[in-house]
């Protein structure tokens, strides 16, 4: 009995450093932030409890509803990035000459600072930038397209950068998933008469489901929390067409010091994130035998 208690105590002692860090940098901020969502707080005065007032104001604010819609629209990147990453992973999983270069090249945007990426893509999207130049050279357009200045397409232009930036990361995850599938299984399928498409659809995709689940949750959460690209490339414009929910929280919190409203928006997004994660587990988790 005494030995068992000592073992338990030892286990808790070993857990303590991690628990302290978690408490300080995860649980406490979440708890405190959730509390602030129900208060009026500007960093200077003490928080004043206002109940659900922040949430009422939030859902009365057209800008927040618009930014929620934009965040929902941003979820388009999820299927696009997943399909592209799987195809890319299948491609670079082959032992072709020079394939290591391509693997590294596709991964490069992942390790590049987002501010650098933002600046590069600002140049690319510019009226005189590379994209417009190519389209003009192909005689597809006469006038330059305002990728970041036209409110109908700016959000999609930003989304494209998110896809470009994240593709390499998901490709590597899928590559690891692919390499965990035994070659014997494909050989058995060959002997069973499966062609390349049947092998992909009936063997690769089902066996990649755990990776698809992981990547899907990660990319959904990243999409809902899209912020850096917006902040660097458009600052929510033009005409607030690229406002995402997190950018809204940033604007109200950091810029306007209305932390109650900002954290109420963040809390709403947290609930949305949890809901999305639950949906992923519900529909993508492989069934047990």
């Amino acid at each position: 009995m005494a030995h068992s208690r000592k073992a338990t105590l030892t286990a808790y002692l070993f857990l303590t450093p991690a628990m302290v860090l978690l408490l300080a940098f995860a649980f406490w901020p979440v708890g405190f932030g959730s509390y602030i969502a129900f208060t009026q707080y500007n960093l200077i005065d003490a928080p004043v409890w206002v109940g659900l007032e922040n949430f009422r104001e939030l859902f009365d604010d057209e800008l927040f509803i618009g930014s929620l819609k934009n965040s929902a629209l941003y979820l388009i990147v999820v299927p696009v990035i997943q399909v592209l990453a799987i195809l890319l992973a299948v491609l670079v999983n082959n032992n072709l000459p020079g394939i290591k270069f391509f693997r590294a090249a596709y991964y490069l945007p992942v390790v590049t600072t987002v501010s650098v990426i933002g600046i590069i893509w600002n140049f690319m999207y510019n009226d005189d930038g590379a994209l417009n130049a190519i389209l003009r050279w192909l005689h597809l357009i006469n006038e330059p397209i305002g990728f970041l200045t036209d409110d109908r397409i700016a959000l999609f232009a930003v989304m494209f950068v998110t896809i470009w930036r994240g593709l390499g990361w998901y490709m590597v995850l899928y590559l690891a998933g692919l390499q965990a599938i035994s070659a014997d299984v494909y050989e058995a399928a060959t002997l069973d008469g499966a062609n390349a498409w049947q092998k992909f659809w009936r063997i690769t995709v089902p066996l990649l489901l755990p990776t698809i689940l992981l990547c899907s949750i990660m990319s959904m959460l990243a999409a809902v929390k899209a912020f850096e690209e917006v902040q660097i490339m458009t600052q929510g414009g033009p005409f607030q067409s690229t406002y995402t929910a997190l950018y809204y929280a940033y604007e109200f919190g950091i810029k306007s010091l209305n932390f109650g409203r900002a954290l109420a928006a963040s809390l709403v997004m947290s609930v949305v994130c949890m809901l999305l994660a639950w949906l992923n587990f519900r529909y993508l988790q492989p069934k047990n035998p």
Binding site: S182, A188, T190, D192, G193, P289
Partner: protein, 370 residues
């Protein structure tokens, strides 16, 4: 059912070495042929070339009357059981077994009937709705065999199918495979490095070494009349003892040989070799008797170790003037010498083998054991 013909079959990897150096082999219809050999000898590569999983670099492969060098794997009429089982982890046993027929767009009822018939033969009907991870190693192996049976192939290919099983399950599955071969009467090719599997399962055995076949024959032929030192040493456990020697002279009554420790032995056969030629005397452990006194054709030695295996005892002794250790076996009820005891070992002369300097069996050496 089908016979196979391998004519000068070769495998060379792109920018790499040649691993199969021209194999000629005829496998009869309904035969159980075992490919045996050490790791890297080319037995699995040959099997994979037959399966269509490896390209054939040279030579010709026929299954039935058809040349199949360029025929896709699925259309060769072969089914393969892999060492790792290679079951589809996301499918149930039923789906695993019926996958090939499903891809061939067979009607559902036909697939179910075929799967259930195979499951009955292998006694896995109660496992049909489970997934592979809910099965034991032995059950997985049965499913892998079932998947092969369902396809009704002309030729079954087995790539070391029992090597992942524990010893007792391996024996059980070995018996079941032999029974399955009798029931199905289909051509089977079985790759193993386990000589016991080879000896017990094969109608004939092909012994591979360095990308070539050293010898093909029935298990007893290979055991009693090995064509060379490699085959003699590979089959049998403990392996055949090889003692360096010289041929002294031939007489009408036999051949005198002198072992490294200056012991003379007179063999009953005559060999056409020059006197003084270096040779190797091969004698299996079960063909050596021991005594405590010197005598004719007896090799003086000291006992190093006695191993008790239950049914028999293996004794390892070091012969005078020789580096080689001599192993001999005795039934456990017989008295064995003690460790360190001085003994004289008497090979059974009619069961001795002689190999020339190149390791080839001398003509006349290696008769069926008395």
């Amino acid at each position: 059912m089908a016979e196979l013909k391998l004519k000068n079959l070769q495998k060379t990897y792109e920018d790499g070495p040649t691993v199969i150096h021209g194999i000629d082999l005829d496998i009869r219809d309904g035969e159980f042929m075992v490919f045996v050999g050490p790791s890297g000898c080319g037995k699995t590569t040959t099997l994979r070339m037959i399966a269509g999983l490896e390209d054939i670099s040279g030579g010709e492969l026929s299954i039935g009357q058809r040349r199949v060098n360029d025929v896709p794997a699925a259309k060769r009429g072969v089914a393969m059981v892999f060492q790792s089982y290679a079951l589809y982890p996301h499918m149930t046993v039923r789906e695993n077994m019926g996958f090939g027929l499903k891809l061939a767009k067979k009607p559902k009822a036909e697939i179910n009937e075929a799967v259930e018939r195979a499951a009955q033969v292998l006694q896995i009907t109660h496992l049909l709705e489970r997934k592979p991870k809910a099965l034991s190693g032995g059950q997985r192996q049965r499913v892998a065999i079932g998947r092969a049976i369902v396809r009704k192939p002309d030729v079954f290919l087995f790539d070391e199918p029992l090597s992942n099983l524990d010893a007792s399950l391996r024996v059980q599955m070995r018996i079941e495979l032999a029974k399955l071969h009798k029931d199905l009467a289909t051509t089977m090719i079985y790759v193993t490095h386990d000589q016991v599997e080879a000896m017990t399962l094969g109608d004939r055995i092909a012994v591979f070494n360095g990308g070539r076949i050293e010898q093909v024959g029935t298990p007893l032929e290979l055991y009693q009349q090995p064509a060379n030192q490699f085959v003699a040493g590979f089959l049998g456990s403990p392996k055949m003892n090889f003692l360096p020697a010289q041929l002294r002279s031939g007489s009408n009554s036999g051949s005198d040989i002198v072992l490294a420790g200056n012991t003379s032995i007179t063999l009953p056969q005559q060999y056409r070799l020059q006197s003084g030629s270096p040779i190797t005397l091969g004698v299996r452990p079960e063909h050596i008797a021991w005594q405590v006194q010197a005598g004719d054709n007896a090799i003086p030695a000291s006992v190093d170790l006695v191993e008790h295996l239950g049914g028999e005892q293996i004794i390892y002794a070091r012969a005078d003037g020789m580096d080689a250790q001599i192993a001999f076996s005795l039934p456990s009820k017989e008295t064995a010498p003690h460790r360190g005891e001085r003994v004289w070992l008497k090979p059974e002369l009619a069961a001795c083998h002689l190999f020339d300097a190149a390791g080839l069996a001398l003509p006349g050496s290696g008769q069926p054991y008395p």
